[in-house]
Amino acid sequence: MSEPVSPAAHRLRHQLPLLVWLVLVWNLLWGTWSWANLISGAAVALGVTLLLPLPPVVGGSRVRPLPTLRFVGHFVADLVRSGALVAWQTVRPSGIDRSAIITVQLRTDSDLLLTILAESLTLVPGSMVIDLDRERRTISLHVLHVRDEADLERQRAAVLAEENRVVRAFGSPEEVAALDAAGGRTA
């Protein structure tokens, strides 16, 4: 951006993904695609973003197709696996054993990426986010059903692998470089 832009235009550019998403939701709710829906959706989206403004998402984010596909694939597989696993743990006679709360040192430093990571970690097997220390970049997870230390180590490795996939799918080049520098594996 070499030329000076007015604050309103700058804000609009930041709000554009949100506007597109709101128009899409509006159209999906109507169920049919028409110009009337598109225009009324745009009007509603503008009204919502003007009346209820959200802080802009800082940090560049992009979507890389192949890593995103890998992230989504892993996510769906994990979702099915964790659903089946927890369902089995609720119905089996022995119930659940002990659980644990672990903290993991993360390597990313972006609000958006940490949000995606925390959301997806809660849905994958075993873990649920309890706390996220934004300054120290540690995430605390509750782990269901652990037997020994090896289980904890496996869970830690799974969190870091998930972080790896999220950053490679949605992170900016600097984020990926920082991950590589911190010893991110290419798993």
């Binding site: 999906l28 659903g83 644990a100 672990i102 925390a118 809660t122 849905l123 649920m128």
Partner: protein, 147 residues
């Protein structure tokens, strides 16, 4: 009814039944699991997967795209909101000490702290006082000074 329609219906029915079963286990987990944190696991994972399966089954069974879009939205918002609500509830539960410490193997979130609950089991009322008021007060003063 053609063979294709029968296969389609059979797939839809299997998905719907599987989804309802998963939602049932989510409810079962709420009853059987010992404390808030473990119950939240049951309330998110089988629940979300169950809702997703029901949505897919209903999308196959229902005619017309307009219903499908609606089901897609339900699925997306389920996946976005369930982890957030589970996280909020479990965080509050942890901070209010609704944790069965006897069922925890390690608690790295609280490892350095001097104040440990020994009597509380995790099912106390939400406004239960600290188990050792003196020690808790000293710790909070310590933290204030360090700040």
């Amino acid at each position: 009814m053609s063979a294709l329609e029968m296969v389609r219906d059979a797939v839809a029915i299997v998905l719907l039944l599987l989804g309802t079963f998963l939602c049932l286990t989510a409810g079962l987990g709420l009853v059987r699991f010992p404390d808030v944190l473990t119950r939240m696991h049951a309330g998110t994972k089988p629940q979300v997967l169950g809702v997703l399966l029901i949505m897919v089954g209903a999308a196959i069974r229902l005619q017309g795209w307009s219903a499908t879009w609606m089901l897609l939205l339900v699925a997306v918002f389920q996946m976005l909101t369930a982890p957030v609500s589970a996280h909020m509830i479990s965080r509050v539960a942890y901070r209010r000490r609704h944790v069965r410490r006897d069922r925890l193997m390690v608690d790295e979130l609280n490892s350095g702290g001097g104040v440990r609950d020994r009597v509380y089991q995790g099912d106390e009322p939400a406004d239960a006082p600290p188990e050792q008021p003196g020690a808790a007060l000293a710790k909070s003063r310590e933290e204030d000074e360090a700040r």
